[in-house]
């Protein structure tokens, strides 16, 4: 840990640095070398077609993927071999693609479940201010919430933990346009507040509005990086990558 502090204070380099990341489900290799950096305070998206390995990359970062190889440095700590709970305790928060709301827990219990890992997380009132729906639904079972409310809950509970770097897997998937807008505003607000975000997003138009750069994932590899400033200029390339 002293090493971690040193790296941070001497060289304010990337908060997250992924190199040659490989990952497997059972015997099947899905990640074949993913490399990218995230600077503190940046919003970085992972773009790519269905099945490209975006979710798997986040799972590997979070330590949930059974077998992984390569290098992941988070906040100065090598995490490739750490168990999931230790990685979370370093201040990395995870909002999974399927949202991961617990059916047997009330909305409030879901909100309180992730333990605080760092000082400075939002308190419950602040989360309710951000997502007023959650206050009204506090007593209902988590899975009785609408898709949008579940997504708010999944994001809100991570903001409570004090994690300052957040992995967000398709937060707008299947949601109504007004909710997509609300989530978009939230992400912009978080960025303004200095959070670092790795965002998986199919909707590249949405991604463009919030991101600093885009990492293109193709068949388990990071094949390109596009600065958001070059987004319009690279539109042809991007649509080819995404096959849209």
């Amino acid at each position: 840990m002293p090493e971690a502090v040193k790296t941070q204070t001497l060289a304010p380099g990337p908060i997250l640095s992924v190199e040659h990341l490989e990952g497997w489900y059972g015997e099947g290799q899905v990640l074949h070398g993913v490399t990218f950096d995230v600077e503190p305070g940046q919003v970085v998206t992972l773009l790519g077609r269905n099945g490209a390995g975006k979710t798997t990359t986040l799972r590997a970062l979070m330590g949930i993927l059974g077998k992984r190889r390569g290098s992941i440095r988070f906040d100065g700590v090598q995490t490739i071999a750490l168990p999931s709970r230790r990685i979370a305790r370093l201040g990395l928060g995870y909002v999974p693609e399927e949202r991961g709301i617990f059916a047997s827990l009330s909305t409030f219990e879901n909100l309180m479940l992730p333990p605080r890992v760092k000082p400075g997380g939002l308190d419950v009132e602040q989360i309710y201010t951000l997502f007023p729906n959650l206050r009204e639904r506090a007593g209902s079972p988590g899975t009785k919430l609408s898709g949008g409310e579940q997504q708010m809950l999944a994001i809100g509970r991570i903001l409570r933990t004090g994690a300052r770097t957040i992995l967000l897997d398709e937060p707008t998937e299947g949601l109504a346009p007004v909710i997509v807008q609300q989530i978009g505003r939230t992400i912009a607000q978080l960025k303004q507040d200095g959070y670092t975000i790795v965002l998986v997003e199919q909707n590249f138009r949405f991604a463009q509005t919030v991101a600093d750069k885009h990492v293109v994932i193709e068949q388990g590899r990071a094949v390109d990086t596009i600065a958001n400033a070059d987004f319009e200029a690279s539109l042809g390339k991007i649509t080819t990558y995404l096959g849209v």
Binding site: M62, G63, I64, P83, S84, R85, I87, A88, R89, Y94, P96, G100, F102, A103, S104, L105, E109, M112, L113, P114, P115, V117, T161
Partner: protein, 295 residues
């Protein structure tokens, strides 16, 4: 009125009381099994042996340390629970990545070993354990004699089942347990020490078995085989209630104890098999059990 359908009221109430007592043990034992199964996905076949160890712990505390029933009620679950924690850490935790069947075989083997150890040291005839002085005697009701200790067993088991249910459903620790039952990987990804949660849960389930064992000591004699006799019925209770359902195991435990008692009154020949008949019917109609969730 002294008889119903030709059955003397005295016999009826006697069997109902007996059914309620048996039901109390079924409930506490199946509650422990259900909690362990829910979180660890492990069918703890050593549960009966751990119940037996609770009774023996009470006997040993009395005979080797001079500590009576009330001490045993607290210390035996702690000691046997601790034993369960060691067991989970050293052996059972190594099998989580494998099929359920391995955990089942391991705990089945452990049950036989434990039973064998106690048999070779204490024989099979059973050791007497006296009812605590405070609970000796009973109430003479118009239609039956109600022993105080039996009332205590029913009240104590109800209190324990209710406390455990509240702890699981209404506390934050219980929320961790419920969440980890649903999706342990995600709970770990939030920074929770899930392996520790599993160990403590197993220890807690085992402690419940031992608690039931202490309660049983003054009623049934303390016997190495006492667990093997009851655990098969308890498994049937768990299956009927719905594997892993907390509420289901408790309610089914008491209900089946009563059904068994009533069967003894009205159709004694069927009393040994009635639970298995019910199990078969429930499995036919509702394979996930009465309170089970179908996925």
């Amino acid at each position: 009125m002294t008889a119903i359908y030709g059955v003397p009221l005295q016999a009826l109430f006697g069997q109902l009381l007996l059914g309620l007592i048996n039901g109390s043990f079924y409930a506490v034992l199946s509650l422990g099994l259900a909690i362990i199964f829910g979180l660890l996905n492990n069918i703890n076949f050593a549960h009966g042996a751990q119940y037996m160890m609770g009774a023996f712990a009470a006997w040993m505390l009395l005979n080797y340390a001079g500590l009576g029933f009330w001490w045993a009620l607290i210390l035996a679950p702690l000691l046997v629970g601790l034993f369960g924690i060691v067991l989970e850490r050293v052996l059972i935790s190594r099998l989580y990545r494998l099929d359920h069947l391995y955990g089942f075989l391991l705990t089945f083997g452990l049950a036989l070993i434990l039973q064998g150890i106690f048999q070779s040291k204490y024989g099979v005839s059973g050791l007497a354990y006296a009812i605590p002085g405070e609970l000796a005697g009973g109430q003479r009701l118009p239609f039956m004699f109600l022993p105080n200790y039996r009332v205590f067993v029913i009240v104590a088991s109800l209190a324990v089942c209710l406390s455990v249910w509240l702890a699981i459903e209404k506390t934050m620790l219980g929320a961790y347990l419920r969440a980890a039952t649903e999706n342990p990987a995600l709970v770990a990804a939030f920074g929770v020490n899930v392996p520790l949660l599993l160990t403590l849960t197993y220890g807690g389930g085992v402690a419940l078995a031992a608690f039931a064992g202490v309660l049983a000591a003054p009623i049934y004699s303390v016997n190495p085989n006492m667990g093997a006799d009851i655990i098969i019925v308890v498994f049937a209770v768990v299956v009927i209630g719905g594997m892993g359902s907390i509420l289901g195991s408790v309610v089914t435990g008491y209900a089946l104890g009563l059904v068994e008692g009533l069967t003894k009154v009205f159709y004694p020949e069927g009393s040994a098999t009635v639970i298995y008949v019910i199990m078969a019917l429930v499995l036919l109609i509702k394979p996930a059990g009465l309170f089970g969730r179908t996925n």
